[in-house]
């Protein structure tokens, strides 16, 4: 029974990977060229920045960067909360 489950799971994953590999786009082809072309052609005029990556990170997709900053903030708060207990035990 266990062997049959493992074998069927293996078959399922293998079939999924083979199908995904067969339908993959050519190597190096962009996922959505329309979006890329828009960013590359309009970043200098709209955001007036030479660095298109920074203009995406801080302007077009600024909300994602806010989430990233929140992740870092919560990580720092977690570390400080963890180690503050250590320091207060000593006093």
């Amino acid at each position: 029974m266990k062997k049959a489950v493992v074998f069927s799971a293996f078959l399922f994953v293998a079939a999924f990977l083979i199908l995904a590999g067969a339908q993959m786009r050519p190597f190096g082809a962009p996922t959505s060229p329309l979006m890329d072309d828009y960013f590359i052609n309009h970043a200098q005029a709209e955001v007036s920045a030479n660095n298109v990556v920074t203009s995406i990170v801080f302007d077009y997709r600024g909300f994602d960067t806010l989430g990233e900053a929140t992740v870092l903030f919560s990580a720092v708060v977690g570390v400080l909360a963890l180690f503050r207990k250590l320091r207060e035990d000593e006093r």
Binding site: Q44, A45, E46, V47, S48, A49, N50, N51, V53, T54, S55, V57, F58, D59, G62, F63, T65, L66, E68, A69, L72, F73, A75, V76, V79, L80, F83, R84, L86, R87, E90
Partner: protein, 156 residues
């Protein structure tokens, strides 16, 4: 000894520390022109703090690196980033209202290949500075607090 490393490491640290800080601030300042930005430059500056803490030990820096000041500066950076996101709220959240307006960092970029001008980018350089301040002080306070905590754990 109280946790500081050998005289070789401390001497090299005195030479390299300033260079790392200057390079990190360069990466933050030119975030809208060259590869890098606030996160990367802030991480570079934080490695300089980490180098100081490792080389001189937490006890040797007790009066110089104030972790309460570092944590306050981190919150200042986070709040500045939020405020910069909100100043364009009239159009959309995170709308770049300073770009092409003529204010500080507001002059337009020439279209096409150009050497890059510092006074462009709108809110991007401001956000780079806010995020850079946040990342450098946040990572530095994490390293400082963890090292101090580990030392005290060792002693007890």
């Amino acid at each position: 000894m109280n946790g500081e490393m050998s005289v070789i490491v401390r001497t090299i640290t005195r030479f390299v520390y300033g260079l790392i800080v200057v390079f990190g601030f360069y990466v933050i300042m030119h975030g809208h022109l060259t590869p890098g930005g606030g996160f990367q430059g802030g991480a570079v500056v934080a490695t300089a703090f980490a180098l100081l803490i490792v080389a001189f030990g937490a006890a040797g820096l007790k009066g110089k690196l104030n972790d309460h000041l570092l944590q306050s500066l981190e919150e200042v950076g986070a709040l500045a980033f939020l405020v910069l996101g909100f100043i364009g709220i009239g159009t959309a959240f995170f709308y770049n209202i300073i770009a092409n307006s003529g204010a500080v960092f507001g002059s337009p970029t020439p279209i096409g290949p150009n050497p890059g001008f510092l006074n462009t980018g709108g809110t991007l350089p401001w956000m780079n500075w806010a995020v850079g301040l946040k990342v450098m002080t946040g990572l530095a306070s994490v390293v400082l607090v963890m090292l101090v905590g580990a030392r005290e754990e060792e002693e007890t």
